[in-house]
Symmetry: C2
Subunit: 988 residues, 2 copies
Amino acid sequence: MTTKYVYLFHEGDKDQKGLLGGKGANLAEMTNLGLPVPPGLTITTEACNAYTANGMQLPAGLIEDVRAALATVEEAAGKKLGDARNPLLVSVRSGARFSMPGMMDTVLNLGLNAETLRGLIDLTGDERFAYDAYRRFVMMFSDIVLDLERRAFDRIFDEAKSAAAVSEDWQLQPEQLKEVVARFKRHVKEQTGSDFPEDPLQQLELAVRAVFDSWNNERAIRYREIEKIPHDLGTAVNVQTMVFGNMGADSGTGVAFTRDASTGENAISGEYLLNAQGEDVVAGIRTPSPIAHLRDENPQLYGQFADICRTLEQHYRDMMDVEFTFEKGRLYFLQCRVAKRATAAAVKIAVDMVHEGLIPKEEALARVEPKRLDDLLHPQIDPQVKRVPLGEVARDVAGKIASKPALIYVDDGRVATVEHGAWDALSDEKRAERMRELIGRARFIDMARGLPASPGAAAGVAIFDPDTAAARGRGNGGGGEDVILVREETSPDDIHGMTSSQGILTERGGMSSHAALVARGFGKPCVAGCEAIVVDEEARSFSIAGVTVPEGQVLTIDGSNGSVMLGAIPTVPARISPELTELLGWADEASRMKVRANADNPADAAKAVELGARGIGLCRTEHMFFGEERLPTVREMLLAAASAKALQAEVAALRRELQSASGEKKNKTEERLAGATTEMEAPMRRYLGALERLLPVQQGDFEAIFRVMVGNPVTIRLIDPPMHEFLPDHDALLEEVTRLRIEQPDSPELRDQEALLAGVNAVREQNPMLGLRGCRLGILYPEINEMQVKAIFRAAIKLAGEGIAVLPEVMIPLVGFEAELKHLRTLLETTARAEMEAAGRSIDYQFGTMIELPRAALIAGQLAETAEFFSFGTNDLTQTTLGFSRDDAESKFLGKYLQMGLLAENPFETVDQVGVGSLMRQAIRAGRDARPSIKLGICGEHGGDPASVIFCHTLGLSYVSCSPYRVPIARLAAAHAALQDVAQERGR
Amino acid sequence: MTTKYVYLFHEGDKDQKGLLGGKGANLAEMTNLGLPVPPGLTITTEACNAYTANGMQLPAGLIEDVRAALATVEEAAGKKLGDARNPLLVSVRSGARFSMPGMMDTVLNLGLNAETLRGLIDLTGDERFAYDAYRRFVMMFSDIVLDLERRAFDRIFDEAKSAAAVSEDWQLQPEQLKEVVARFKRHVKEQTGSDFPEDPLQQLELAVRAVFDSWNNERAIRYREIEKIPHDLGTAVNVQTMVFGNMGADSGTGVAFTRDASTGENAISGEYLLNAQGEDVVAGIRTPSPIAHLRDENPQLYGQFADICRTLEQHYRDMMDVEFTFEKGRLYFLQCRVAKRATAAAVKIAVDMVHEGLIPKEEALARVEPKRLDDLLHPQIDPQVKRVPLGEVARDVAGKIASKPALIYVDDGRVATVEHGAWDALSDEKRAERMRELIGRARFIDMARGLPASPGAAAGVAIFDPDTAAARGRGNGGGGEDVILVREETSPDDIHGMTSSQGILTERGGMSSHAALVARGFGKPCVAGCEAIVVDEEARSFSIAGVTVPEGQVLTIDGSNGSVMLGAIPTVPARISPELTELLGWADEASRMKVRANADNPADAAKAVELGARGIGLCRTEHMFFGEERLPTVREMLLAAASAKALQAEVAALRRELQSASGEKKNKTEERLAGATTEMEAPMRRYLGALERLLPVQQGDFEAIFRVMVGNPVTIRLIDPPMHEFLPDHDALLEEVTRLRIEQPDSPELRDQEALLAGVNAVREQNPMLGLRGCRLGILYPEINEMQVKAIFRAAIKLAGEGIAVLPEVMIPLVGFEAELKHLRTLLETTARAEMEAAGRSIDYQFGTMIELPRAALIAGQLAETAEFFSFGTNDLTQTTLGFSRDDAESKFLGKYLQMGLLAENPFETVDQVGVGSLMRQAIRAGRDARPSIKLGICGEHGGDPASVIFCHTLGLSYVSCSPYRVPIARLAAAHAALQDVAQERGR
């Protein structure tokens, strides 16, 4: 049996997207629903794959099969392809499983030639219409199928309009159009050496081949690589009877959503044009009318249209995106698909449809991709903003942007601006009102699209170098202006400029580029690799589409989708809508895992609670040390501690020596011991003094956090990072000392700096990630841990005294050996008990450990005997399991690995399930065996990554913890994980 | 039933060491063998433990039991304790399971008091003897049991000698001795407030208590901690009838070994003194005669003695160490034990005893501790060197050492020296002859003993600061003198001095101190923590026992046992004796695992073959890059590679951009592309040019190694370390650039150094251990790996052409992902095949990987599909599994951990079986499942650590690989492991 490569529309259904492509499957579904769909056929993706496998040869018999199916179409349409008297015209469209930019889109009016043109004129009696159809076809076919440059045809057409002294396409007369077609054909002959194909069947075959070829063109391949779409899906081809929206005032065409794709409002939205073909709507040459006008203009047609939309929604149980045409008052649906929608709309529609009884809660949850909630948690371009590509208005824009307006938009077809001054003069209220008005009426100018490298929208003046950005910008809450730093690429030298900017835009570099990584680290919006712009850092400008944007021009970037816009575009703030709250409530009901937040201060803790966190999974105590007024005390403490401990070790060694010494040796040892003991006093006093000053400060921190988190557990990690992180930068200090040695060799400043450098050198390490940090610090400097535990328990006791429930969980980091954990737990629990006894109040608390070293995972059974909870520190665990230093890997080789496909994911973003996951599994098994009640969580950055959250669910963790703004994402992902379980259960 | 705390000698046997202590068990054994042992009893270790547990109260009934047993002893001896007419005198000695310095040793002549003294005089008729015995007893008892300072008694005794105008002890007359005893007793009364105890039973009880107390004194506790001896073993007490070697010319006492303890020669060795008590032999006050003289002086006695020695050897099937006394011609054995012996002797005796039919080969293997073979693999102090403690000759030495002699020794009781000049003037032959003569006759001066921190002996002039050491020393083969660097402690600032020295001696610091670690790393002898010396770095001298040793004095240190000697002491070179060769042959027969060596050059490879390696397990290709004439090329290569690759990435990005660019963007991109392409050419040319120059050099290296290793496998690891390791030191460069910026701002030198600094900065990493190294380098810079593979295969092809068998194993380091290994194997096998095809010759080869990241161990099943062998890189695997950077951990916290007992072993020395071992086990299981034929080895430094070798055996590895000098150790350890298996099999 030969493979069936050609399907008539009624032969398929919506679930055959793999075979028929998305478009074909939905056309089949609509046909079978009895909706008005012009008849047609679909050539399958398998035919495309056979074509590719055959070395770009159409499978044997394909054209014959197409011809046979076409006969049925011709019968249904009552017309015949190539029939000079009653010609069938068809559209040819590609239609893959996933829609893909860069692939051949559409050829309309295929079947026209000199003969059938006459038939069309006769049939319609509209010569201008027929010639216009003909010139459109020749132009599209030449561009898309014959791969000739579109510009040449535009030029010929423009010349014709000039010669006829008209400005609009429709003003050309039939004769003039006829001449245009002739010139088109001559151009084709010149370029290809062959005549424009006249045989409709040959036209069709060429179009089919062009669709197949476009599956394998470089842009399509690259797109699939980026989007991780397999290369062997292939594309289908849809051949459909043409209907014409441009046959007069009772004809028209449009696109619509069955609900509002921006807001999710339950109202049909969309646009249509009377007397136009679909491409006119898409191209934006004429301004379409909102779909609501159709109701007024043609209530009957609108009624039929709205009924069909409702039918489709009920049938698909989702919001649909449709294309329609009405030809002389008769309505046709040309395409439908589940509509793309803004995240806010996705949430509202999912929740609404539950209330409408269309879908169950589980499906509502499943319909919102957790990662997309990120959009709602950062300021965003107002989803109602309508856009116009810069290309269309470039000439008008060019003159406007020198005066540095705050807003540039298109109003009634003209480029309009609002200047900073005028805008700033308005009251906030007035400005908001004016903005709402503008959003309803204006279109905003989209300049380009780059990679969505770090989410959120930001507006500010374009600045082209980091020094100016640092000087002019207001950075993190300081004075100055809002700045967007625009660079070809960023480098570590740009950091000061990046911190002072509201957002970052680069011409080059990918999702793992320096700009992207740093911006995500800082939580600043970033659009990276925006290759459409040409940055000239020397000239302090960039250019695009003939427009030069100078320093000082206000831009808006949206790092959530990569768009770059001119002017300060209206944004909407991050907002938790009632629907989102409801959806997340359902998520929590569905989930088995809890979601906590990583929060180091009361503000973050409050945000975490607001976003639904059920506790703090990671409170990094040392982050509290970095405050401007605290750091000097912390530095003093650490430098003194290091000297004191070195001397303490010496004193202990000398005491031991003294036991066996005699004679001269004894004298010398005694002398030394006295010296070291005296010498030790001063640094020890400084060390303990600084700790004493830090104690009430940390206690205050904890009080504030406990107060916010009332009743929820708070996991507090004792000091973790290597000491050098708190100290001044070594290299800068070395430079300074070297300079002072030459220029001021006897200055007290030199002595101070040399002493500081010596202190820094003493704690410096070759691989600090694997050095003196975590519990190792706690063991060598127990006084610091003791101070922290005192602070925790004093705070807890105080709040408990006020009747506020507190649940501190003391977490010991970087444990690798049972002895470390036992040693510290014994030491610190003694401190804790002393505090509770002194206060006469007992606190519910737990002691636990992080599992962030492979060895910890491997001996988890032993650790569980001492630890009441485990928190997987997957950042460190990833570093050690993979041997990837995060700082070095991402900049030195990880990007290349991702690019080469050696790694599919950045293991610092999505947990490495095979390697790190295997250790987690072992640890969980052994931990549970040793202590069935053990609490298990994760507090690495993976806790906010949906794929990793799902993995944590399958591992059976009790909770994930992530940064506050990722809490909603994690809540939804946790629900998805639980629902997958349920689905699998059912599947069994 | 009450516990039996007291055993008569005939009630025990040699296997009761735990209960009776080593001394007691062997006394029992000898008694039961019918050998002449003075009768006695042993109080058990359990009594000691009960005493400790009771808060230092003797167990109830103990003294009664002792008294009862004593009655039997009295009967056998025909004397009675405290009997004024026929008094029994006893010795009281401690006797733990393991002999321990710092514990109470011996009290002789216990039972003497004013009354029994008279009895003794009457019995012996020798008043002088009796009074001498009495003063010895009072002195020992006061010192050891009453814990009074020995010096006071010495002073009294010396005063008596002065008053009597005599110089030797034995010249004092009975009346004078009587006065001495009286003064001793007055001193005791003054110091303790009580009379010296007269009641013999009270004396005995006090002595027993003193032995028990000494088990718990601080020195004993510390010793047990260091030696890992449990604290609850307790000590036994032996109470034995005194016999007297000092009762005239037919009396004497001595110590002997049944064979030569230095060389293993099958001849009784030892010394004796006529008319002396044992303490006189030990104290070295009189020079004893070699045991051979006894044969001449008293052939009958010697015959009896030799017979008993033979009996003991046959009975114990081992070389024995005995103490004997003959009293008026009657021979007694006072102690016997399995003798301690030098490593060379241990090997020879074990092998000889097999040939003598005394023991089987397995026992011979078991009797040599693998670790001790280290002694034979480094130059050593000649084991025949006899020593005299510095204390005894200190006064004489003091005047001699200023003249900087090469040798200081004691000849005929006088301190003699040979000066540098005189010594150097001799021919080598003459000097060796003179040295042999000296060894026979002289005693060399032992100054002190520290920790054996790094094995081997070295002699050189004492130098007290690293700068002078670097200036004067000849370091690794350069000019200059042999230097011993003497420091209080070393620090990283001393490194240049350490590399220039032959050996290192420190006053302070333990086995993990900086000096110890660095010395072991450099393979230089080191004695650390030699607390007996007092270093005065400012004065450039150290002092000990009243002697000041100045800079320039020649010293000898032996890092194998921690001894420090004056002068250049005769050493023996590292030597593989025929017996060792035979023993190691048996080891290889017994072992299941093979031993390979880590060798990076032909010399090391040759040494490895000489020491029995069966192949090279790790040939670090990059070590070949460090040669003085190669490093500049390597640096040029790496710096050019980094720039070239950065530009290559830019070119690739621009090419991609160009595809979608148009208009102005296109122009600019084209311009940039042209620029970057041109810019790339120069570094690319430099990079590839340098590689081309390195290719024949590496090929030559491999040819030479293959030639040495003929027929044995050679595992070659492709380039591994981070790039910065080949480049100049960053900090020094930064200082230089800073200086030049100030002093020569416009110099070309500044530009050069700035460029170099930029290059260094470009490859610098925050945690290089976890950065761009290993296969990551190979993936980003495939040209380097390709060059290396070309060199390997060209060398192999060339040698194969000469008929030499070659078995290269290409090893890819730091693999964490299957894709990395597949990518590189495909790339490099293509290179290899091309070489073989071009040469028309095929080579047997394998591709494999290191397992040195936790992830690699976890996905070993996947890796085994591509790798034909695994080599466990346990150095890196330890670093990542434990999260310990070797460089940082050892200096920052590991020492403290070991000191605190948080860790029992340094995991970089002995493999962490729990953590790292668990990953190894997982990897082996999965690797074998995926590829049953997979070859498994280890090439970390653990490969030469006996405990780790045994662990590798239990894991079932095919081979271990270690540094050439550890190959014999590993061979023996591998045999031990296999024999343990056999023993366990038998035990089942």
